[in-house]
Every structure is written in C-alpha cells, then in structure tokens.
C-alpha cells in the first residue's frame, strides 16, 4: 500500500554490521540520531562562537534556550539542582532537535520509537536513584514513607509509593513516544485522504480541500507538540531530580 501510515517508522539498515551474532547495523534511526547530535552541536557551537557582548540573532536564540532550561531547572530543583544542568540541557536539546528533524517530510523521527524514549527515561531515573542513595544513603528511602500515616496503613502506602515511583520512567517514555507516533500517523492519514479523494474527480478534488486545511493546522500543532514535549521531558526530569536532592521535603 502506497500510503501506509506506519511505513514511515520502519527501521532499515543502511550499513549492515553484525558482531558476534548481534545486529549492530547503522540504520536510518542511527543516521538521524547522528543528525540530531550534529544539528544540536552545530547550532550551539556556531551561534556562540562569535561571543558578542551584544548577541546577534543566532547567539540570542542559543542564550534563550540556555536561560529557559536553566530557569526550568532552578524553579523545580533549586540552585543545587544546577549541577545537573548539563544532563537536563542535553536531554532537552536532543529531544527538541530530534522532534524538529522529524517534522521535515521523508525524515525519520527518532523519538517515535519507544526504545529510544525508554532509554532516555531510564537514564533519568537511574540518575535519580544512584544520586539519591549516594547523597543521602538510606535516607533516600524516606521518599517512600509519608509522614503522619497510621501504622496499620503504612506498609500499604509504602508499596503504592514505590510503585508510583517505578511507574515514572514508564510514563515519561510513553508520553514522548505516543505524542510523536500519534502526531505523525495523523498527518499521514489525513494526507492519505487527500490522495484518495483527489482520484475521485472534480467533486473529490473540492472535497480534498478540507483535509488539506486539516494538515496545515496539524502541522502547526505538531511543531508545538515537538517543542512542548521536549519542555515537558525537561521539567519532569527536573522534578524527579529534585526528589533525589531533597527526598524528605
């Protein structure tokens, strides 16, 4: 089928590599991950290389990105949260640039695969767990024990708190992946409507105006979602890091 809405997410090896029975091929996904890293680095390095006291247009954009993420992190994790700034900023830039690359037609959207978002979410939650135990020792476990709960209910509440904590990486990864997948499938389905309606003759072509308008609106929405999801991922990361920094509140 020519306009299969799922085909855009197929992973195809570009340079087949196999080491010890493991398929380590360089795929289209790998290619766009490289493109994402190169794109983000090029944007930041090129825009800040001038080091103007009065920033130009590009330097101003880079500075705004920096200030935005720094403000987000400071608001949710306090000033000692700034030690995680490189981590949060890298996550934000990777997701943002990967989402924006995906908006270009025929390009692959890296973040539409749950394995990518799951790895990012695991990186976040493992950082929280390891840093929490390293900084506070067993005091980190206070995170799971609410104060003022009657003794009979305590084991029950603790189990629910632990499960709620463990479900964070899942919701973190599902949110990003589902948003990108659903958005791109919707765009493709509406584009399919245009093609099938267009083949029906004059009435069909007039009828196809409606899905075209829908695609224009959806494309704008997708740009919003691309930026918004990167922001949501960054702010949730900051909130979780806050738990690692101040477990007892």
């Amino acid at each position: 089928m020519a306009n299969d809405p799922i085909k855009q997410f197929r992973i195809e090896p570009i340079v087949p590599v196999e080491i010890g029975g493991l398929d380590l091929s360089f795929t289209n996904s790998s290619l766009f991950m490289v493109a994402t890293v190169v794109g983000a680095s090029a944007f930041l390095i090129a825009s800040t290389s001038g080091r103007g006291l009065v920033p130009g247009r590009w330097q101003s954009a880079a500075e705004m990105t920096y200030e935005f993420v720094a403000q987000t992190l400071r608001d949710s994790a306090g000033n000692d949260g700034m030690r995680f700034f490189p981590f949060v900023f890298s996550l934000f830039m990777f997701i943002l640039v990967a989402n924006l690359w995906g908006m270009i037609p025929y390009f692959f959207t890296v973040t539409s695969h749950i394995i990518i978002t799951a790895v990012l979410a695991m990186a976040v939650i493992l950082t929280v767990v390891f840093f929490g135990f390293w900084k506070h020792g067993l005091g980190f476990l206070k995170l799971f024990v609410p104060s003022g709960v009657p003794g009979v209910l305590l084991p029950f509440i603790v189990v629910i708190e632990v499960l709620s904590f463990l479900s964070r990486p899942i919701s973190l990864s599902i949110r990003l992946f589902a948003n990108m997948l659903a958005g791109h499938i919707t765009l493709k389905v509406f584009a399919g409507f245009v093609v099938s309606l267009g083949s029906l003759g004059v009435v069909g072509v007039i009828g196809a105006i409606l899905p075209v308008l829908a695609i224009i609106a959806l494309t704008a929405l997708e740009f919003l979602v691309a930026a918004l999801q990167a922001y949501v991922f960054a702010i949730l990361t900051s909130l979780y890091l806050n738990d690692a920094l101040h477990p007892s509140h």
């Binding site: 609410p146 003022g148 499960l163 479900s167 919701s171 949110r175 589902a178 922001y231 949501v232």
Partner: protein, 119 residues
C-alpha cells in the same frame, strides 16, 4: 503674598491633568506587569498537554502493576493471585500519580494535614 497665591493657583490648575496622566501611566504599567507575570505560566497549563500527562501517568501505573504481577506469578507460580494484587496496587499507584500531576495533593510524600489543606 499675592505672588505665591497665583503660583499655588497655577499649580492647582495643572494638577488634574498631571494626576490624570500619572493615573494612566500607572494603569498601563500594571497591565504590562500582569502580562509579564502571566506569560511564563502559559506552557504547562496547556489543556491538551496536561490531559496527555494525566493519561500517561495513569496508564503507566496500571501497566507497571500488570508487568510486576505477571513476573511475580512466573517466578513463584502463584498465578493468578500475583497479577490480581499487583494490578490493583498499580491501579492505586496510577491514581496517586494522576492526583499528584493534577496538583490536588502536594508533590511527594505529605502528611494528612497538608493534603487536607490542598483539597
């Protein structure tokens, strides 16, 4: 004496206009201040984004409960009781995350008094 009188008189005549202008300036300043304060709060309050966050939080809890229950049953051969218990616990954890995301209780552990204040 008469000189001062006329001076005072002159200032009084100016005053209504000046105070009017000051008032107008004050109003414009407070409006732009309100705009500047309101603006940064906009993105997280997007309706769709919040709805998707809530949905993902809830689904994650249930999925985690189901996965843990299934794994528990496979390890200890207690099928189907592990799945039943963990699914319910996961459900509760999902509801807890959703209520927290919606801002109805304090983020993180909170005493009953704090919860009462927020509700």
């Amino acid at each position: 004496m008469s000189d001062r009188d006329t001076k005072d008189h002159g200032r009084d005549a100016d005053d209504p206009e000046l105070s009017q202008r000051l008032q107008a300036l004050e109003q414009r300043l407070s409006e732009s201040r309100a705009d500047a304060e309101g603006a940064p709060d906009q993105p997280p309050r997007q309706g769709t984004a919040l709805a998707l966050r809530l949905a993902a939080d809830f689904v994650a809890g249930v999925v985690l409960g189901a996965a843990l229950g299934w794994g528990f049953d496979r390890l200890f051969g207690t099928s189907p009781f592990g799945l039943m218990v963990f699914l319910l616990l996961g459900f509760a954890a999902g509801v807890l995350s959703v209520v927290r995301t919606a801002g109805l209780v304090k983020p993180g552990p909170a005493g009953p008094d704090d919860i009462g204040d927020r509700l």
